[in-house]
Amino acid sequence: MKSVLEVKNLSAFFGTNPVLKGVSLSVTAEQVTAIIGPSGCGKSTFLRCVNRMHEVVHGAIVTGDVLLNGESVYGKDVDPVLIRRRVGMVFQKPTPFPTMSIYNNVAVGLRLNGLKKQAVLDEQVEGSLRKVALWDEVKDRLSQPGMSLSGGQQQRLCIARALAVNPEVLLLDEPTSALDPMSSGKIEELLRELKKNYTIVIVTHNMQQAARISDTTGFFLTGELIEFDATKKIFTTPQDARTEDYITGRFG
């Protein structure tokens, strides 16, 4: 099995305060990898280290390395902007760009990569919207603002925006925690479909969600990776007592 992400002894700090302590794991291609753990355990920071978003914050430091398809993300002359184009990211709250139409929200990434031909753009935008099952809902109003959609639709629009540039890995930071159960269900269904072609890492607070959609699960606690294994194993026969405590709801 091919691994897309290879995380090696990754630590992250805000100033001198460690939020991630020596995490090593590898993410397998065309699978959903879920990251679970209580709030403040470094799940989001972990995601943000993968596409070098962690360093956007002042005083943030990263040590260790992340290999994206064998290439170091933290290499000396690696441009973080170019890394971010190879890694898709979707946030907790839907973030369509408010001044852009539905169409442009998807096309903006494509244009960023130098795509200019209208016909090709149209085709790619349609393709991306189809992938997130949004095309039929919005095809007649592509020129309306992205903000005119419902929360769940907005989040799917953001996933389409991330997918449009064909990322090597898709990072989702609690993508359903701001949505109602119906919309969450749709997104879960979508992720199951998407993993046929994409590699997905999802951070979630919802353990049932992790159990439903992921193939591999990592459990984080206070910045450490406690256990990382097949989802089935984690949820049925966890090796570590702390993992068991967490998934059975004894704490966290």
């Binding site: 946030f91 973030t95 852009m100």
Partner: protein, 251 residues
């Protein structure tokens, strides 16, 4: 108030009638120059202070207590400029523009008004840019946009209606300024051609006419005031309808 008021020049004292056409045109010209100076400088200053003048704090949001020394100076200078009496700005422009040119001009008047506009536009721009959620900036960055592109294509457009509003506010504020114009654009009984001649302006005309002893002039001063108000109102409506159309028609 009659149609003559809008299209005729003033008549000599004692005659009834005449208008302020030259002052209306003069005010529009002055405001044009003022916006030309105040808007870009204020906009760029506001963008600088909001986006670059602060180091982002731990939450990814910029905080104002951590700022570079230069940003501190810019903000301080802008605040001081905001507090300067407008007549001092007039004297300043008199010294640096009018004296070297050796005559009063529309240009000098516009520059004076533009300088008064700068801190208002700047502060407004900064505040409205700060209101743009940091999640939007992060979404842009995560998509692989360089920072300048995030600012130009996402942050500024999102805040643009607000920036426009503060510019309108600044225009409304300076369109009533009289004091700085006395030293710079001076006044003119006739239409001024081009930008290098002294020009009449509504506030200055209102001032002269209202302190005059002639009842007809006093009436005209009131009329001038009404026109000035209407002018500001019109600018507001025009810019709003423009913004509205732009919002609806993009793709």
């Amino acid at each position: 108030m009659s149609w003559d008021f809008f299209v005729k020049l003033p008549v000599p004292v004692g005659e009834i009638g005449g208008g302020m056409a030259h002052a209306i045109i003069g005010t529009v010209k002055l405001l044009f120059v003022a916006v030309f100076i105040g808007f870009p400088v204020g906009l760029m200053g506001g963008i600088y202070l909001s986006e670059f003048g602060r180091r982002p704090s731990s939450a990814g949001r910029p905080s104002s207590d951590e700022q570079g020394r230069f940003a501190y100076c810019v903000r301080y200078a802008s605040d001081i400029l905001n507090g300067i009496p407008s007549i001092v700005v007039g004297i300043f422009v008199y010294i640096v523009v009018v004296l070297p040119m050796k005559h009063f001009s529309t240009l000098a008047g516009g520059i004076a008004l533009g300088i008064i506009m700068i801190p208002i536009v700047l502060k407004g721009t900064e505040e409205f840019l700060k209101l743009v959620p940091s999640t939007l900036r992060e979404a842009g960055l995560a998509l692989g946009m360089p920072e300048w592109k995030v600012i130009l294509t996402i942050v500024v457009p999102t805040a643009f209606p607000g920036v426009m509003t503060s510019t309108m506010l600044a225009i409304a504020r300076v369109s009533g300024e009289t004091a700085p114009l006395l030293f710079t654009s001076f006044g003119n009984r006739y239409f001024s051609s081009g930008w290098m001649e002294p020009t009449a302006s509504l506030p200055a005309m209102i001032y002269t006419y209202s302190i005059s002893p002639y009842p007809d002039w006093k009436r005209q001063a009131w009329a001038g005031g009404t026109v000035l108000l209407a002018l500001v109102f019109l600018t507001n409506i025009l810019s709003r309808s423009f913004l509205h159309r732009k919002k609806m028609g993009y793709r």
